[in-house]
Symmetry: C2
Subunit: 362 residues, 2 copies
């Protein structure tokens, strides 16, 4: 476990980015450059994951990882989903598409687990929850290092108790889906108006530095820090704050090896900022602020993956104002740079930043 992270020449992990972004070429380039690349099994068929695994292995002999979505509670407020679908009818008309079926699948959980076991993938990471202890034990006995994504000290304790080798502490700055284990309904002013005594739980919005402190204090596992890291100086900052490695997703969106759509790529530096929204998938995720996000975030229900399927055709219609342009808070610093060069640059800049701060403190 610790050895996989300790053996990295550069303590930089390229985040798994589902939806076609984390290609075998990107993953292999990162691992070849001394970091750790991650394939994203999410939304792919198990066969497609197998193909990507083999393609990656053909490109590198270095360790890499595969990330799998953990299926959660799919009991949702069906009437809220119906109301949201009715609202989105106008969007579907606008783009000349049909809304998808708001179904609850498990993203091929069992088959993907069988696959990473059969393929003895070096590092297997999980998002949206922590598998049962026996699942983690099978992976570890099989030689895989197991990483569980957490967003709070409570989740960190659960993952450590289940036998995780490494935790990925994901701050609220991170792009794409929040890795929270559960998906509680958002604070609703409608509900609050109806019942002045109603408790509405505020969402977990821990930033990467305080989260890292909470997690490293709660458990004694190595922790990879993720969320809004936009430079080698930021990589060094989280190492100084106690991380075993830094995970970056957004900066890798600019690499030619990434499968980032051109409209997404262009928007990264142009967009004013990002926000966390359930509008696209029914689970909180951070993306560049566009029209769809602004108009639907306040009412989108907590219903995943129902809403993901519902909005698929709208997102695929090609209008950047209605696409899920996932990005973290460091998105303005994306540049077009081959992944190996980016990894080397992050390492060099991290060293410079450490040296400068050390001079200041002496």
């Amino acid at each position: 476990v610790v050895s996989v992270l300790d053996e990295l020449v550069v303590p930089v992990v390229a985040a798994p980015m589902a939806g076609g972004i984390s290609t075998p070429e990107l993953v292999a380039a990162v691992s070849e450059a001394g970091g750790l690349g991650f394939l994203a099994a999410g939304y792919l068929t198990p066969d497609a994951v197998r193909d990507q695994l083999h393609a990656t292995r053909a490109l590198t002999g270095k360790p890499f990882g595969v990330n799998i979505f953990v299926p959660g509670d799919t009991a949702v407020d069906e009437s809220a989903v119906d109301r949201y679908a009715a609202r989105l009818t106008a969007e579907a008309h606008r783009y000349g598409v049909y809304l998808g079926d708001a179904i609850a699948d498990d993203d091929g959980w069992a088959a993907k687990l069988d696959l990473v076991l059969a393929e003895r993938v070096p590092v297997v990471s999980f998002t949206f929850g922590c598998p049962d202890a026996d699942v983690l034990a099978r992976l570890r006995e099989n030689g895989s290092t197991v990483v569980v994504t957490v967003t709070s000290a409570a989740e960190a304790r659960l993952a450590a108790a289940a036998g995780a080798d490494v935790l990925c502490a994901q701050g609220q700055e991170a792009g794409g889906h929040r890795g929270t284990f559960d998906n509680p309904p958002a604070e609703s002013s409608v509900a609050a108006e109806l019942d002045p005594d109603a408790d509405s739980a505020p969402r977990n919005d821990m930033g990467v530095l305080p989260l890292l402190r909470e997690v490293t204090s709660a458990v004694s596992l190595p922790v990879v820090a993720a969320g809004g890291l936009g430079s080698g100086a930021d990589v060094a900052a989280v190492l100084v704050a106690g991380a075993a490695a830094a995970q970056l997703g957004t900066l890798f969106l600019g690499c030619p090896e990434a499968g980032t759509k051109p409209a997404h790529r262009a928007a990264l530096t142009e967009a004013a900022g990002t926000a966390v929204t359930r509008a696209f998938t029914g689970r909180p995720a951070r993306g560049l602020v566009n029209r769809f996000l602004r108009q639907h975030s306040a009412v989108a229900p907590a219903a995943y993956p129902h809403v993901h399927h519902l909005t698929k055709s709208i997102r695929a219609a090609g209008d950047p104002e209605a696409m899920s342009l996932w990005a973290g808070q460091g998105h303005h610093f994306v540049r077009e740079l081959p992944a190996a060069d980016l990894v080397r640059q992050l390492a060099a800049d991290a060293r410079s930043a450490l040296a400068a701060a050390t001079r200041r403190m002496l």
Copy 2:
């Protein structure tokens, strides 16, 4: 300017904490230990600020700062304030108090400005906006270093253009009020239900690391980083990320010199977490999650300082479940420690953390 920060023996700033927390004793102890202490002029009468200034000067000859709230646009949705007041009637009954008058004062702006000019305060910082360029010029010509609190690159550019010497970049992790220049209405699901085409602007939720990167890229001023810093390692982390100094508030709440109420002190380590809310003052502020915050956050209007005055008697009633327990995301790491010891500990831990990360990166 730069000299005040550069001359600090320890690049640690104790955040101004209004409401009686930042006492002359706390400010003097921090500055005497080599950091920079800050008096909080907010909510005090100008006479009380003068008394605190003199008391601080009697305790230390070292530089210290005074923070002043910048009055903002007080044109609010009066009907929303009335509805909120009606809702809070039950709270007032519960505690046997009368609601305050929802008035819009300017917190003694002109008199406090005259005071810091007359007293030639070494460092003057501003929150909730940036004063006009002529105000900053008068302070600078008078020998004061001027600090403006910002939460975005856009605010940083405005403050730099107005002539600020230093910026304080406040991440969303920070306790107490967000220093945003404006106070836009929250995303409202009520409004969104009524008008499906309505844009609802997502709130600015930049974490301290990406904010620091944005601000240092946007302007060439020295930047103090604030938000959720819970240890010397976190101080070192923001220095590595490019800050000229680290500002901490929450950790100083545990110092015996601080005027932290006993109930607030006890809740810091016991509370599960924090959330940003307008429930107490009508402006977004981060506090420990308690009953009042859970029950009113979703509907509290953007009306500052109207709501601050409205809720004053409820907050003063002494129930920790209805007090504004301001705290940042590092609140679990508060300990009872004299301020000078805390400053020295932060410096020592920052050096250790830098050394450990440097060994890892070589």
